[in-house]
């Protein structure tokens, strides 16, 4: 695994005070928080920062991390020392196995490409989607892991869907990793795979509950739930707002002026639509019920965009000249009022 330089991630000196570390984290968190940020890779950067802050804000973890030495460089191959964690006193009691490392990841069904990401994002540090480096040093089974008393816990992950998938419904294959205590007392991450059917009509930010797929309770208690938060990927043609979609639809000047019957793409396939005579560029027409499914279903808005034919041939030029000569049209009439 690769070494992570937590001081570098937060942009602070190794001698930084707790207040300086907190200030650096707050400053970067404001910049890269996934709900707020427009920065590229904001989510990945934010997770790095959370991981770094989780270690550096905790005096015990920071001291142990510092013990690794200052000579390590970010990205260098690293293995935890065999005596890792010995010689420290733990304020929270050592040996409790919390959830470790990656709690949940999702990938598309077999044979499909363009997987768009899902990672755990729990508030509790041990269940966040932290690196292998973090898990090996501070995760479940390490002397630093301090669980929540063995209670069942919910897990949260994000799942990215294409707009067509939210329209038709889809399936996702999720790999869930759970810590299990082995007979010798050590903790092993056990992976199991679930296939989830997502019904049509889910919208941005909506939650999907998978009962009993969270972290198990100690003993024979009921497990927590897994929640998937839906994020709809931007679409090439359609803009999504709630359950409504908007399509910008190019039309010829004569279609707008005279009216026309046109074929319009929708999420459910092409439909015929009538453009009324005298339509203008920017005008929005509604196709009722052609948005995402639901109670009630969303609508599709068709925003007309009048496209001028180029005057690139003698015939086209002649037609434009004829219009100039015969039409009483002043596009700047409003300016002279």
């Amino acid at each position: 695994m690769e070494f992570r330089d937590y001081y570098k991630v937060l942009g602070v000196e190794r001698a930084a005070s707790a207040d300086q570390i907190k200030a650096a984290y707050r400053r970067l968190a404001r910049k890269y928080h996934p709900d707020v940020s427009k920065e590229p890779n904001a989510e990945a950067r934010f997770k790095e920062m959370q991981e770094a802050y989780e270690v550096l804000k905790d005096p015990e973890k920071r001291a142990a991390y510092d013990e690794l030495g200052a000579n390590w460089k970010a990205g260098e191959q690293f293995r935890p020392p065999p005596d890792w964690g010995t010689g420290f006193e733990f304020s929270g009691g050592a040996g409790h196995a919390g959830g470790a490392g990656r709690a949940a990841g999702a990938r598309r069904g077999a044979g499909r490409s363009g997987w768009s990401g899902a990672g755990a994002e729990d508030g509790a540090f041990a269940e966040r989607d932290f690196s292998e480096f973090f898990s090996s040093l501070f995760g479940g089974g390490s002397p630093f892991a301090r669980g929540g008393g063995g209670a069942a816990r919910d897990h949260h992950a994000r799942v990215g869907l294409e707009l067509e998938e939210t329209y038709r419904g889809t399936t996702r294959t999720l790999e869930l990793r759970r810590p299990e205590v082995k007979p010798d007392g050590s903790v092993e991450l056990r992976t199991h795979t679930v296939r989830v059917t997502i019904p049509p009509g889910v919208t941005e930010g909506q939650l999907i509950r998978l009962a009993g797929q969270g972290a198990p309770a100690a003993g024979r208690g009921q497990a927590g739930d897994l929640y998937l938060e839906v994020h709809v990927q931007p679409h090439r043609l359609f803009a999504l707002e709630g359950r409504d979609v908007t399509l910008t639809f190019p039309v010829a000047p004569w279609e707008a002026a005279l009216g026309a019957s046109v074929t319009v793409p929708t999420l459910g396939g092409s439909v015929e639509m009538h453009i009324p005579a005298g339509a203008q560029s920017g005008q929005r027409l509604r196709l009722r019920g052609r948005g995402l499914p639901g109670q009630p279903p969303g609508d599709q808005y068709v925003q007309l965009k009048v496209v001028l034919p180029p005057a690139s041939s003698p015939q086209a030029k002649a037609l434009y000249e004829e219009m100039r000569g015969k039409l009483d049209f002043d596009p700047r009439a409003n300016l002279s009022r």
């Binding site: 707050r26 968190a29 404001r30 928080h33 709900d35 707020v36 934010f46 959370q50 508030g123 919910d154 294959t173 092993e188 056990r190 992976t191 199991h192 795979t193 679930v194 296939r195 989830v196 059917t197 997502i198 019904p199 009509g201 889910v202 919208t203 941005e204 930010g205 909506q206 939650l207 999907i208 509950r209 998978l210 009962a211 797929q213 929640y227 998937l228 938060e229 803009a239 707002e241 908007t246 910008t248 560029s281 920017g282 639901g294 109670q295 925003q303 965009k305």
Partner: protein, 108 residues
């Protein structure tokens, strides 16, 4: 070690679902006091009494979860997070309108 594949039906929390205050707190990283303040601010419209027994529509979950994350990760208070949420939503709306106008004037 990989286990067997299980097929699961997902339950989408959406229109028609009402969620208890305790579960809302758990799902959105909020405490009951914060939920009460958000009700005062008009961000959520719960039904029932007392607050501990409130039922809240599941359609409020996406907004409440953003508020919960902003409070948890950025250290802002309830009204600050609610204000940030409104500004974020306004920004998203403006971005959509700008994008629509750009498409009207672009060559593609």
């Amino acid at each position: 070690m990989a286990g067997v594949t299980h097929r699961l039906e997902a339950h989408v929390l959406g229109e028609g679902d009402w969620i208890g205050a305790t579960e809302i707190c758990r799902l959105c990283w909020l405490d009951l006091g914060a939920v009460m303040e958000l009700a005062e601010l008009g961000v959520v419209a719960p039904r029932g009494t007392p607050p501990g027994e409130w039922q809240i529509p599941a359609t409020a979950l996406p907004r409440l979860r953003v508020i919960g994350r902003l409070m948890r990760d950025l250290g802002v208070n309830v009204s600050g997070a609610a204000l940030a949420l409104e500004l974020l939503e306004a920004r998203r709306q403006l971005e959509r309108r700008i994008r629509a106008l750009e498409l009207l004037v672009s060559d593609h």
